[in-house]
Symmetry: C2
């Protein structure tokens, strides 16, 4: 896993490609060409190495993406969190959300199996904060996991849906064109205002409602003594 010092006497050819180099090249591609263009083949080309060489440094494409995400998390999740339980939960969830919203390509990796077990320390700190906030509020560990998972699903859903929504609203033709609106009065009344309303950033407000709803079931801890 860790690379040896170049000065230490060792057998074999010294590596020409390092993990930080690979991640830097990947970021370069994303910034320059868009994250859709980050493929194993292009990344190798960017590094000036053979495609297959990359497979000595990353297990597969998914592994590359998770390493990239963890590095991103290290840079964006190093913040202090409030002490009060509810505010702690809200702040941690918001940090996760904002971090992911800035990297919509993260969507590809968010839903992989066993994702949590492959997360780095920075991300796990945020998971811990939500769990601790819930427990401090009076939740059992089981309830705390439920609180975390609920918030996680909502956050992932928000990111994934909005990541694919074009910001190019304005010149788009009738959103509900060709849809038969009979029997759908509320939807019909909204009509073409829908795209505008759907584009609003309502994550913070919805998050607070959700946290309130989740914590309402469990009695808050009695103040000490």
């Amino acid at each position: 896993m860790s690379r040896p010092e170049p000065s230490r006497g060792r057998t074999g050819r010294p590596p020409l490609t390092s993990r930080p180099q690979i991640l830097a090249a990947a970021r370069r591609i994303i910034d320059r060409d868009g994250w859709e263009k980050l493929t194993v083949r292009r990344l190798a080309a960017e590094l000036g190495i053979g495609t297959t060489t990359l497979y000595h440094h990353v297990r597969d494409r998914e592994d590359l993406l998770i390493q990239l995400l963890n590095e991103h998390a290290d840079r964006t999740l190093a913040l202090d969190l409030p002490r009060e339980p509810r505010e702690r939960i809200v702040a941690a969830a918001t940090a996760i959300h904002d971090s992911l919203a800035a990297w919509p390509w993260a969507a590809e990796v968010l839903t992989t199996d066993g994702f949590l077990g492959r997360l780095g320390k920075s991300s796990l700190r945020m998971v811990e904060a939500v769990l601790a906030g819930a427990v401090d509020h009076g939740c059992t560990p089981e309830q705390a996991v439920h609180v975390f998972r609920s918030i996680w699903y909502f956050t992932v859903g928000e990111i994934l849906v909005r990541a694919r929504s074009t910001g190019t609203d304005g010149e788009r033709p009738a959103f509900f064109a060709g849809v038969d609106m009979s029997g759908l009065p509320r939807l019909a009344a909204l009509g073409e205002r829908w795209p505008e309303l759907a584009a609003r950033d309502t994550y913070p407000r919805a998050l607070r409602s959700f946290v309130d709803g989740l914590l309402a079931g469990t009695a808050p801890r009695p103040s000490n003594s």
Copy 2:
């Protein structure tokens, strides 16, 4: 869009491939080989036609998937909903959830831009039900859209994350293996119980909490007169 009667005199060769045939073949592939195998090329092969012929009947792969989803919705969302606003919202969201949970491949299409505008009547009925429930509870149209979107994000997130989670728990090695747990006491205390807790189906409970939280902000309508 609609196909002509074969008996009516018309110019040109009669079509050998119809929309229902295509959708039936697609379902056959999904049931037999798994939804990952549903590709344009395989579908054409299943139908016994050239790959390019398919492009006369569907605009592209995404269009095929949305047609398939709408057909699925027609078969699964034809249910009655309770009249009481809160129960109406919960029932509609649960119907959407259960319908999607049964077809995890729907994940591929859920997040496409302008998705709502391409939905069929059965799905829009559920959207309408959530909006109507919120308005009947006392929400403004703007708030009702907020309620729908919040529930939608949560539902999509739950489906997408759980769709990729293997049900093959039991023989999997240590979930948090190799993770440094120092400074993460709540997570450490949970330890290897995490996969078991994360596998629980908590959607209904979390949904109720969310709906409660979302409706709490808006005063319930005064009973009539």
